[in-house]
Amino acid sequence: MVDLKVKLHDIEFKNPVTLASGTCGFARETAEFFEPGLLGGYFLKGTTLKNRDGNNYPRMAETPSGMLNAVGLQNKGIDYFIENIYPEIVNYDTQLIINVNGSTVEDYIALTEKVNELDKINAIELNISCPNVKEGGMAFGVSCPGAEMVTREVRKVYDKTLIVKLSPNVTDISEIARAVEGQGADAVSLVNTFLGMAIDAEKREPLLSTITGGLSGPAIKPIALRMVWQVANAVKIPVVGIGGIMTASDAIEFMLAGASVVQVGTAIFKDPMIPVKIVEGIEDYLKRHNMQSASELIGALQV
């Protein structure tokens, strides 16, 4: 029997496969396909202090091996989550992590304080990298002072595991990673989506209501993998690897590059069962390679 368990700071995941924020709703939606306890965890849909309607339709465009989205953090706000959603999912036998979003530092703080009260939420993922909102979002994540400031202020009010989600739309992502590590982040997750654009040549119009949107899917995998490798080599805190993961091999590559946990995002739109297949594939890989534990994969790239 191989041991699939991995640790991220002080929380344990039963396996390294989790779902990415904004691609798994509030875990209930995937529960219609499979038992949530099969996965290591869920990074729930980006949540804000107040209700947000998100951006106008159309919010999506298919691109080569990927897609652009411009959802813009549509959600009903943290209070709705606490009252209506949390009770429904609280007993899922898996890690539930809230993806926290603000337009101002005050928003982040207020949100975090509320989340801190939720017993079964052992970590938050601080999203300072959403490219689809006008204020806040990515603005904090693309400069060291911005990233440091939000991390520092949230750290003051949050006791549990603090994961900061980084934007790939930067010159040097390891610099930002080091900056948030310096302010007390317990882990970093990367990457969020790449700012991209799609045009309808016939109509001579953008395909998204917001003109630009966030690129995700296998197309971004090589860049995301490079960033995870750079960041894992730059910081001491653990790394959550995200970006275009479709198969167990992809997940393993991110772990070899230094990720302790991976998030599967867009892949689930293509096939909701992919995350479960990835768990099985990792187990199979470990057996084939005579490895005892998934944690042996972390950073095991031979260079």
Binding site: G22, T23, G54, S65, V71, Q74, P218
Partner: protein
């Protein structure tokens, strides 16, 4: 117990209904869950370059004995074209059943079903399922010309068939909303259902509102996931932005911001 599934079906028929519409029948080797008109499947387009996401198609007919689902696929772009080239015997991965059904008519309803473009399938399915006597079910199908209409004569047992065509080559000339069912008295109907191009449904909704008749439309917004996690398919409603894939595709026109 899962309520939604991802499964490989076997294609047992793919036949052209006319130049651009195809009837595709697929079979499962396990029992089908209950599937209602308006619900849809999300189909993986395999072996196609540069197609990344699945494509949603309404369920047209269900045969629970043989575990067969059929769809009517209209060629619109790359994915639908590729799908219409599939051979019997091939495998087709589907996510199903997705979305919600229509408000079923009650025994004393007289209903009008309007289908256009790729929206014909759910209307025919609903006509069959309505349980109403033929005389209480009118179907109005709209298309550019006779060649663009598909033959639905077998549905005469469930409904009265009316046609509109822009060039007048089948039924009345003009758009569906110019058809006599609209220009006469829309109030003879207690429920109107429509599925088709956006413009068509908006025009119908306008007439239905004016006549104050109950009206549901089935939307075909662009989708990424089809099961409510991506929030890409939203439609602005009086209750906020709702997911067409989980809270629709069927909406009461009074809830829409049309």
């Amino acid at each position: 117990m899962p309520k939604k599934f991802v499964k490989e079906f076997t294609v047992i028929e793919n036949s052209a209904l006319n130049a651009t519409n195809f009837l595709i029948k697929v079979q499962s080797d396990t029992e089908l869950p209950e599937i209602k008109p308006g619900q849809f499947v999300n189909i993986e387009i395999k072996e196609a370059e540069e197609i990344f996401l699945r494509r949603p198609f309404s369920v047209f007919e269900v045969d629970y004995e043989k575990n067969v689902i059929s769809m009517i696929v209209k060629i619109l772009g790359r994915g639908s074209r590729k799908l219409t080239e599939i051979k019997a015997g091939s495998k087709l991965s589907m996510v199903y059943p997705l979305g919600k059904t229509f408000t079923y008519p009650s025994a004393d309803d007289k209903i009008l079903l309007i289908g256009g473009g790729s929206g014909v399938a759910p209307m025919l399915f609903l006509a069959k399922e309505s349980g109403l006597p033929v005389e209480n079910v009118d179907i109005l199908l709209g298309a550019r010309s006779k060649e663009d209409h598909i033959n639905v004569d077998s549905y005469k047992q469930y409904a009265n068939l009316h046609y509109a065509s822009e060039d007048g080559s089948l039924g009345e000339k003009g758009f569906v909303t110019q058809h006599s069912v609209f220009t006469n008295n829309l109030n003879i109907y207690t429920k109107i259902y429509a599925c088709g191009p956006d413009g068509m449904m908006r025009a119908i909704a306008k007439e239905a509102k004016a006549a104050d008749v109950f009206c549901e439309v089935s939307l075909e917004n662009l989708m990424a996931c089809g099961f409510g996690v991506c929030l890409c398919c939203i439609e602005p409603t009086t209750k906020g932005n709702l997911c067409v894939c989980t809270e629709g595709p069927v909406f009461n026109i009074n809830d829409l911001k049309w």
